[in-house]
């Protein structure tokens, strides 16, 4: 390429090597004029600078009013690409658990290395010299930023202290309410119907500490007033000392006595659950016994016999009384066999009275 070199004013790092425009990302150029003044290059240059300017403007806004926030590793480790220095720079300034927003940008823009790089960049890319000041932060501005940052840090710590104070106050408040409640319940007396309203109100969360104090004082004379009417409920009140007032008022639970474990333990001691305990009945033998197996085998054998044999469905195991007689055909060959049995029974019945009469 004969005209590969840039315009005469542009610095040529190596005369022999082909020049490559980093903004346009190409090394082949055409036209009589220098590439640096071409419309395409200037357009890209403007785009790059506009992007950088957005960030610098955002940082410039924080110069007078620095913002300090708690450190967030994801958010506050972001970096931005400084086109002039051709390197990544941290966007925010983090120290310990705190982060100054845009502090990294301000610090970088104020550094002398950046100033040099900006001058070089402007020379190399033939940018508008009037814009140069927008990408630099003067040392006075930097001092201003430092001052505002110090102020912001102080303000942040003060705010933090305030939050801690508030939380401590809340915890103290809750603790006080709880203590009062325990004290009130452990006193061996029962509030009258009038006092109940007070008691319920006292258990409400978020009561002011001074308010509950007032109630404590207000409650003192009540027992003496209602001592006579409350004596009958004394026992139940004592047994449920750890329960809340409303439970006492609504229902009295029946205590069935402590369950003795007798060395077996219970659910809290990791004992064997009842459904896994062995019954006295089961012998651990699973499935049919040998006797049952033999019976089944006999049954299988019977199935091979002809189904219409004599007495095929005769029940050999039926229980019979004294009067039972087998089926028996008498000498005649007609009639059913059970008829002989009935006949015999009838004869026997008619015979007995005869014999008695004889």
């Amino acid at each position: 390429m004969a005209d590969g070199g840039p315009g005469g004013a542009a610095p040529v790092p190596m005369a022999t090597a082909a020049y490559r425009c980093p903004l346009c990302r190409r090394s082949a150029f055409s036209g009589r004029r220098s590439h640096l003044y071409s419309a395409g290059h200037q357009r890209r240059l403007r785009g790059v600078l506009a992007r950088l300017r957005e960030k610098v403007e955002a940082a410039r806004k924080t110069l007078k009013h620095a913002v300090v926030v708690p450190y967030d590793p994801v958010e506050h480790e972001k970096q931005f690409w400084c086109t002039c220095c051709k390197q990544e720079v941290k966007q925010h300034l983090s120290h310990g658990i705190l982060t100054a927003l845009c502090g990294g940008i301000v610090e970088h823009m104020a550094s002398p290395e950046h100033k040099t790089a900006v001058y070089t960049f402007w020379w190399e890319n033939k940018a508008d010299p009037n814009l140069k000041s927008q990408f630099l932060i003067s040392s006075e501005d930097y001092e201003l930023f430092k001052a505002s940052l110090t102020k912001a840090l102080d303000a942040y710590e003060a705010g933090n202290d305030e939050v801690i104070q508030q939380m401590a106050a809340h915890i103290r408040n809750v603790e006080q309410i709880r203590q009062e409640m325990v004290q009130a319940i452990s006193e061996p007396q029962m509030e009258t119907e009038l006092c109940k309203g007070v008691a319920v109100a006292r258990t409400c969360p978020g009561t002011q500490s001074d308010c509950s104090f007032a109630m404590e004082e207000h409650e003192q004379p009540v027992p003496s007033r209602s001592a006579t009417c409350s004596r009958e409920r004394l026992g139940s009140s004592r047994s449920t000392t750890t329960e809340l007032d409303w439970q006492e008022a609504e229902q009295s639970l029946t205590f069935i006595g402590h369950q003795e474990t007798q060395g077996k333990g219970n659910v809290h001691t990791g004992a064997k659950p009842p459904w896994l305990l062995e019954d006295g009945k089961s012998t651990g033998e699973i499935g049919p016994s040998y006797e049952e197996f033999l019976k089944e085998k006999e049954k299988q054998k019977l199935k091979k016999l002809p189904p219409d044999r004599v007495g095929a469905n005769f029940d050999h195991t039926s229980q019979t009384g004294e009067g039972w007689l087998p089926s028996f055909g008498r000498v005649w060959n007609h009639g059913r066999r059970w008829q002989s049995r009935h006949q015999f029974k009838a004869e026997a019945g008619s015979k007995k009275p005869k014999m008695k009469s004889l």
């Binding site: 019977l302 016999l305 002809p306 219409d308 044999r309 004599v310 007495g311 095929a312 005769f314 050999h316 195991t317 039926s318 019979t320 004294e322 039972w324 007689l325 087998p326 089926s327 028996f328 055909g329 008498r330 000498v331 060959n333 066999r337 049995r341 015999f344 026997a348």
Partner: protein, 149 residues
């Protein structure tokens, strides 16, 4: 010879025997141990009992100990042999007046074995009455007298 075979001495035992013997011919010999013909018959039964053990079960019953059965089976001569199969009474046509029981003693062991086999096969085919395989010459003769007729 009667001591070689099991005896049934009460109605309950006879009941049990009739009910419990399954898929086999039950042979009940009604008689008296001291009777002469009974001794002959017991000898034949005792000697064949083992050979027939898969087809028959043989019991000896004293007629005086189970009067109910004696009456029910209408036993007027001893020895009388009654056959059952699966709790059902098996009749046999011997050519004699009574089909319900064999009266008297068998002439040979083989006669008895043949008779049991015929009863067994007939029962297996569902027959309640079978034809006796015994030669009529070998069957004792008697006069059947019916009571109350």
């Amino acid at each position: 010879m009667s001591f070689l075979l099991p005896k049934l001495s009460s109605k309950k035992e006879v009941d049990e025997a009739i009910k419990s013997v399954a898929e086999k011919v039950l042979v009940l010999r009604f008689g008296r141990d001291k009777d002469l013909v009974c001794l002959q018959l017991d000898d034949i039964l005792a000697k064949t009992a083992h050979d027939l053990s898969k087809m028959a079960t043989i019991y000896l019953v004293d007629v005086n100990k189970v009067p109910v059965y004696t009456q029910y089976f209408d036993i007027s001569y001893i020895p009388s042999t009654v056959f059952f199969f699966n709790g059902q009474h098996m009749k046999v046509d011997y050519g004699s007046p009574d089909h319900t029981k064999f009266i008297g003693s068998f002439k040979t062991k083989q006669d008895f074995i043949d008779l049991i086999e015929v009863i067994y096969r007939g029962a297996m085919r569902g027959k309640l009455i079978v034809q006796s395989p015994i030669d009529p010459k070998n069957i004792p003769k008697y006069d059947l007298l019916y009571q109350d007729i």
